[in-house]
């Protein structure tokens, strides 16, 4: 069998049934093998869409996402998507065609050194040199992408090797030989005991949960711990959904656009139990004033994250699910009394009452973006998969769509990639056809990857794009308003397509709402249809996201606008 076919057999063995890709000269052999193979290729309209769709698919399903592109421009078009997956630790295998082995290094037609280009943004990469290695490389790639701290793995395959006839021994190919790769999954028992005691004895504890909890499928364990020990939970942006946000113990998101109560709680606590987080600068603000009096417990599968940004007192390297299970057993031995930290819980409740995240929509006034998000939440009963673009739309979605389950909030946290949400939603819909999938978008971001509407229509993927249309690059405009003397340089984007007609031109449905009283009705009508749709919400143009911690400021010093 040729190596291209063997690659597909290996993918099949990894449980792959859907890949996202776009063909070209050097990858024709693989597409030829796909022609009558039972793996579906979702033909995107731009390779960036393939990478983001694979990313969304992976986050929604927990499986490895696969994207495929040809050499040269096809491969370079994947780069943003690979970087995005790297920064958010998403398991992905990117397969690229490469020019014939004899031509490598000669600036051949459509040659790009994609393994070199992506070196700093992959977990690992392969430039295949012998066709017979290909099936084993695919299995290694999947193993590396999905274990430890997940991430993207690139497999670059010269076209002549794809065609080479090889002896394919499926079982032998699955024997892994990775002497340098042994992720630590089991947390150190002594550290777990120390952390359990610290948690049981803390007077002002807070749990800070991140994307790692979702990756490890540890939400159930997290919930058990929080409820058993009665500890409030705040999450990072990518941790949204790791703990039900409609629960009393939830403080929502912390950091630059976090809730006031989450930021006050973190600043005043005596113990942070951080799990699957990386204390990113958008979370900590000014490091010197971040949680000054707190003992910090940090659980992460990646030892390089421990004490990278903040000094950790009790580090635990391991898989979130296993560590949480161990911790629960340990903490039960101390049977902490529920009212040991009553004053703290009252204080947290008081902050919540004093600074709630309320939407103040006056029916006769301009439409507020957060009102739209709240209505989306009501109409979908908080059960939809929400993908977001980047900017204000992302923050309003994070603040006002109270996510109840893991894998239902899909956003570009680390790289902050405009144009991510829509293709990610396409991937998410393929992973979870049973759920409503919505991309909460900005008009600017959506225009970066809107060509994927053809993909959605092509495959009948019911994805709704809800544009919070302010005709600005809103988040940048907000910074310019607050810190740059309202000099709106290059952020006004009044010239835009008619999004309703655009949807129709693609064969999708288009809707528009401009007044608050239209929102709910439009959403109900749009969501009752099976077709992909764009809903153009014309929102107050200069609405701002609050609370806001100015970059580099202390997170308890928040700008709150006029209302909060």
């Amino acid at each position: 069998m040729n190596a291209a076919r063997a690659l597909l057999e290996a993918l099949k063995r990894e449980g792959v049934d859907t890949v996202f890709g776009f063909p070209g000269g050097t990858i024709i052999p693989i597409y030829d093998a796909l022609y009558d193979f039972d793996i579906d290729n979702i033909l995107v309209r731009h390779e960036q869409g393939a990478a983001h769709a694979a990313d969304g698919y992976a986050r929604a399903s927990g499986k490895v996402g696969v994207c495929i592109a040809t050499s040269g421009p096809g491969a370079t078009n994947l780069v943003t998507g690979i970087a995005n997956a790297y920064l958010d630790s998403v398991p992905m295998v990117a397969i690229t065609g490469q020019v014939r082995s004899g031509l490598i290094g000669t600036d051949a037609f459509q040659e790009a050194d994609i393994s070199g280009i992506t070196l700093p943004i992959v977990k690992h990469s392969y430039l295949v040199q012998r066709a017979e290695d290909l099936p084993a490389i695919i299995h290694e790639a999947f193993y590396i992408a999905s274990t430890g701290r997940p991430g993207p793995v690139l497999v670059d395959i010269p076209s002549d090797l794809q065609l080479a006839e090889i002896d394919y021994d499926a079982d032998r190919a699955q024997k892994l030989d990775l002497p340098g790769y042994k992720p630590t999954v089991k947390g150190h028992p002594k550290q777990i005991r120390t952390a359990a005691l610290a948690l049981a004895e803390a007077e002002r504890p807070v749990i800070f949960a991140g994307g790692g909890v979702i990756t490890a499928n540890a939400s159930e364990e997290l919930r058990e711990l929080a409820l058993y020990a009665h500890i409030p939970v705040t999450t990072s942006l990518t941790g949204i959904g790791s703990f039900p946000e409609d629960h009393d113990l939830s403080l929502g998101m912390l950091g630059m656009h976090g809730t006031q109560y989450a930021n006050y709680a973190i600043t005043n606590c005596d113990l942070i139990f951080g799990i699957g987080v990386r204390f990113d600068d958008r979370v900590t603000g000014r490091l010197e004033t971040f949680a000054p009096g707190a003992t910090i417990v940090h659980v992460d599968i990646d030892p390089a994250e421990i004490s990278k940004n903040v000094a950790v007192d009790i580090p635990i390297v391991g898989d979130a699910k296993r560590v949480l299970a161990g911790l629960l057993t340990e903490i039960k031995k101390h049977s902490p009394s529920p009212d040991r930290h009553l004053p703290w819980m009252e204080q947290v409740a008081a902050w919540k009452r004093a600074h709630p995240m309320t939407v103040r929509q006056d029916e006769s006034e301009e439409l507020l973006p957060e009102y739209v998000v709240q209505k989306i939440w009501e109409v979908t009963k908080g059960e939809a998969i929400i993908c977001t673009e980047v900017g204000q739309n992302q923050m309003w979605a994070a603040q006002y769509y109270l996510v109840k389950h893991p894998r239902r909030f899909i956003t570009s946290g680390g790289l902050g990639t405009m144009g991510f949400g829509f293709p990610a939603a396409i991937g998410a819909k393929l992973a979870r056809p049973d759920l409503t999938v919505i991309d909460i978008a900005g008009d600017g971001s959506f225009q970066m990857t809107l060509q994927e509407m053809a993909t959605a229509v092509n495959y009948g993927l019911n994805v709704k794009v809800c544009i919070l249309n302010n005709q600005y690059l809103g988040m940048v405009r907000q910074w310019q308003e607050l810190f740059w003397d309202k000099r709106y340089s290059a952020t006004c984007m009044v010239c835009q397509p008619d999004f309703v007609k655009l949807a129709e031109a693609y064969g999708a449905e288009g809707y528009r709402a401009t007044r608050p009283d239209e929102v709910e009705e439009v959403l109900r009508v749009a969501l009752s249809s099976d077709a992909p749709a764009i809903i153009d919400f014309r929102v107050k143009r200069e609405a701002n996201v609050y609370p806001m911690v100015p970059a580099g400021g202390s997170i308890d010093q928040m700008l709150v606008g006029e209302d909060l």
Partner: protein, 161 residues
């Protein structure tokens, strides 16, 4: 602080690039780097000499560990390890200076490996201090060219890294 890292890696294409790139990205300057096959041909050992503060170095070491092809990293303590470097130097040698240079070479247990009318090529091995000391003495004669292999090092005793 000067550190000598001994890094055991899989003998595969691209490994050197990955390691060098990590150091570059974190803004570290590598003083020297020597690579070669080990007793097991599927493995190579790199000796990397860097000048770095402890905590950024710890971060780089952790990042190095994350490279799939890196098997083991040891920060060798100079007190419990042997380090050597091989140096070739081309020194100007006229009829009046030859004898003096030969004497220096002898003191440092070096070897003259090439002789021509105007110059010697001298080979010498040793640790940092020895090489530096010898260079200091030889420079005044006219050091025409200098090539160094970079440091290699090994822990003392019977333990295997």
């Amino acid at each position: 602080m000067k550190h000598t890292l001994s890094v055991l890696v899989e003998n595969k294409p691209g490994v050197l690039t990955r390691i060098a790139a990590l150091f570059a990205r974190r803004g570290f300057n590598i003083d020297s780097l020597a690579v070669g096959e080990t007793e097991d041909p599927s493995l190579s050992r790199m000796t990397i000499a860097v000048d770095a503060q402890d905590s950024p170095l710890e971060q780089v070491t952790k990042q190095l560990h994350k490279l799939i092809n890196v098997i083991k990293i040891t920060d060798l303590d100079p007190a419990t390890s042997v380090e050597r470097e091989l140096v070739l130097m081309k020194v100007k040698a006229g009829s009046e200076t030859r004898a003096e240079i030969m004497q220096i070479v002898e003191v440092f247990r070096g070897k003259i490996v090439d002789v021509s009318p105007g110059a010697f090529v001298v080979e010498v091995t040793g640790n940092r201090e020895k090489i530096d000391a010898m260079l200091k003495l030889v420079r005044p004669f006219g050091l025409l060219e200098l090539v160094r292999t970079g440091r290699i090092a090994m822990g003392r005793g019977s333990a295997k890294l």
